[in-house]
C-alpha cells in the first residue's frame, strides 16, 4: 500500500486531529505498537518527528483530500473527496489499528509526546528508573505527568493486539 494512503485513512477515521504534534506522535506510537506505518521518525527538540509524514500531509492538503486550518494549532480534517477516494480504492474500512488510533486521539498532545518518548527510550534499551530519569531529563516540562506517561505506555504495549 502506498504509505500516504494509510495516513489519509488515519485522518479519515479520526475525523479531526488537533495539531501537527498530535498527528506525529499518534503515528509514531501506532508504528511502535506494530501498526504498519512506514514513515521514518527521528527524535527532535519537540519529540518524535517525521519529515516524510510532514511531506505526505502537505500533499494531501494541497490536493484537497485533507483540510488544514488554524493559526497556532493546525487542525486536520478529511474532505469529502477523501472518503470517495478511499471507497474507490476499496480500503479496508476498519483496520486493526483503528480503535487504538481513536483512543490515542483522545489524549492531550503532552501525554502523547510523553508516551511517544517513553516508547522511543524503551526501544533504546532504557527501563524502569533509568527510563524515568532520562524522560525527565529530556522533557523537564513533562515532569508532572512522567509517571502517567510511563504507565500508559506500558498499558498500551500490554493491551495492544498489534504487538
Amino acid at each position: 500500500m502506498h504509505p500516504t494512503i494509510r495516513i489519509a485513512h488515519l485522518v479519515h477515521l479520526l475525523k479531526r486531529i488537533e495539531g501537527r504534534k498530535k498527528l506525529h506522535k499518534i503515528v509514531h506510537i501506532l508504528q511502535e505498537l506494530g501498526a504498519p506505518f512506514v514513515e521514518p521518525f527521528q527524535y527532535s527538540q519537540y519529540g518524535m518527528y517525521s519529515q516524510q509524514l510532514t511531506t505526505e500531509m502537505g500533499h494531501l492538503v494541497r490536493d484537497k483530500l485533507v483540510t488544514e486550518d488554524g493559526t497556532n494549532v493546525f487542525v486536520f480534517k478529511p474532505s469529502k473527496d477523501l472518503a470517495r477516494l478511499l471507497n474507490a480504492l476499496k480500503i479496508e474500512p476498519e483496520p486493526e489499528w483503528a480503535s487504538l488510533a481513536h483512543e490515542l486521539n483522545k489524549l492531550s498532545p503532552q501525554m502523547l509526546e510523553g508516551i511517544s518518548t517513553v516508547l522511543f527510550l524503551r526501544e533504546r534499551g532504557y527501563a524502569k528508573e533509568k527510563l524515568r530519569l532520562r524522560l525527565v531529563a529530556l522533557k523537564p516540562r513533562l515532569g508532572s505527568i512522567a509517571d502517567e506517561c510511563i504507565e500508559r505506555a506500558a498499558d498500551l504495549t500490554e493491551n495492544s493486539a498489534l504487538v
Binding site: 500500500m1 500516504t4 521514518p40 519537540y46 516524510q52 511531506t55 490536493d63
Partner: protein, 343 residues
C-alpha cells in the same frame, strides 16, 4: 539500500547505536578515553539535552552532509557539489534556539552560521546540495539501478524467509536477508559489498529461482531490465489509483515501484523551504540557522536574510515522480498509465 529495502527499522543511526553500545572494539575505545558510549549514542539518536552536539551529528549543517556532498561530487566527477567548506566551518557560531530566551544556557544552544560571514556560504552549500540531488542522487539512471537492487533484495528476503535461498549463498548474506537487515552487530560489521556481490554471483546459477537469477545476473552484467516512466506532477488521487492498479499486474517492489523524491531516505533538499505555515518544531528541526556571532545570540532561519533562498522557497522544485517496472510487464503498465490518463 538496506534501509530502503527493509523499511525504517534498519535506519543507520539505530545500527550505529547498536555498534557503539554493544560489547566490542568501539565501546572499548570510548571507555578507554572515559567517554560514555551511552552519551555518544544519545547524540546520534538526537535524544540529548545538548542540542548543539546533536546538530554536529545530524542537522542541516552536520558534518556528514558537508563531507558526503564533496566526496560524492568528487567520485562522480561533477562540479555541482562544490562549496567552500573551510569558509563554512570557520563561519560556525553558537546561537540560542529560535523562540527561546537569549542568551540561553547550554541546553538551548544551537549550531549556527555567523550572519556576517556565513550567509553566502550557506547559500552555496544549499545550492550545491540541491544540484547534487537533482543531477546525481535523483538522476533517473542512479535511481533505476537502485530500483533494480531494491527488487533483488526484496526477492532474496522473500526466499530467505522461506529458507529457499540457494545453498551456495554465503552465510552472512543469508542472515542479512533472513533478518531483513537486522543482523547483529558482529555480523553486520563483517558484511560488506564483496559478500553481497559473492551472493549475487552464486544466484546467477539459481535454476530453481528464475527471478532471483535474472535480477542478479542482469545487475552484475549492467544489463538494464527496469524501464523508467517519468510521471508528470499529478494529483495524489492518480498516484494512489495507479498504485492500486499496478498491484493487479505485479508485486510492488518486486516487479515495479513508484519512486518519488519525497519518499526516499535521502535528506530532502528543499524541505527547509516547503510550506508557508511552519511550526516552531519544523523551524527548529529543519532550518539552517543564522546568529549574530556572540555566544548564545538569538538564532533565526537563514531564508529570512537571503533573497536567493526566499526565491527558492517561493518557487519550490516539483517533486520527481517515476515509475520503474520490470521489462516483462511494460506493455500492461503502459495500458494502466493510458487508462488513468498519465502520459
Amino acid at each position: 539500500m538496506a534501509e530502503r529495502a527493509f523499511g525504517m527499522r534498519g535506519r543507520h543511526e539505530k545500527k550505529t547505536v547498536e555498534l557503539i553500545t554493544s560489547e566490542g572494539s568501539i565501546q572499548e575505545i570510548l571507555s578507554d578515553h572515559k567517554i560514555d558510549p551511552e552519551q555518544v549514542a544519545n547524540f546520534i539518536t538526537g535524544a540529548s539535552e545538548f542540542r548543539i552536539l546533536v546538530d554536529i551529528v545530524s542537522s542541516q549543517l552536520d558534518a556528514d552532509r558537508m563531507d558526503y556532498i564533496l566526496r560524492d561530487a568528487h567520485s562522480t566527477g561533477v562540479k555541482y557539489g562544490s562549496f567552500d567548506s573551510e569558509w563554512l566551518l570557520s563561519s560556525l557560531c553558537i546561537g540560542t534556539e529560535p523562540n527561546r530566551k537569549a542568551p540561553g544556557d547550554a541546553y538551548d544552544w544551537r549550531l549556527c552560521l555567523d550572519e556576517r560571514r556565513g550567509l553566502h556560504s550557506a547559500e552555496q552549500f544549499i545550492i550545491a546540495r540541491m544540484h547534487m540531488s537533482l543531477q546525481v542522487y535523483f538522476h533517473h539512471a542512479t535511481r533505476g539501478w537502485e530500483a533494480h537492487l531494491l527488487c533483488l533484495f526484496r526477492e532474496a528476503a522473500a526466499l530467505a524467509e522461506k529458507n529457499e535461498l540457494p545453498e551456495s549463498t554465503p552465510d552472512l548474506a543469508r542472515e542479512f536477508f533472513r533478518t531483513k537487515g537486522k543482523a547483529g552487530p558482529a555480523q553486520f560489521l563483517q558484511l560488506d559489498e564483496a559478500t553481497i556481490v559473492c551472493a549475487m554471483q552464486q544466484w546467477t546459477f539459481a535454476e530453481k529461482h528464475p527471478r532471483l537469477r535474472d535480477l542478479a545476473s542482469s545487475f552484475l552484467a549492467r544489463r538494464k531490465v527496469f524501464h523508467c516512466f517519468e510521471l508528470p506532477r499529478s494529483d495524489y488521487r492518480v498516484t494512489m489509483q495507479l498504485s492500486s492498479e499496478l498491484k493487479k499486474i505485479g508485486q510492488e517492489e518486486r516487479d515495479w515501484l513508484l519512486d518519488s523524491s519525497d519518499l526516499v531516505s535521502y535528506e530532502d533538499f528543499d524541505s527547509i523551504f516547503r510550506g508557508s505555515k511552519r511550526t516552531p518544531a519544523e523551524v527548529s528541526t529543519t532550518a539552517v540557522l543564522l546568529a549574530e556571532g556572540a555566544l548564545g545570540a538569538p538564532a533565526r532561519p537563514v531564508e529570512a536574510d537571503s533573497i536567493m533562498l526566499r526565491a527558492m522557497g517561493d518557487n519550490p522544485i516539483e517533486a520527481i515522480n517515476r515509475l520503474y517496472c520490470h521489462q516483462d510487464i511494460v506493455v500492461p503498465v503502459k495500458k494502466v498509465l493510458a487508462a488513468l490518463g498519465v502520459s
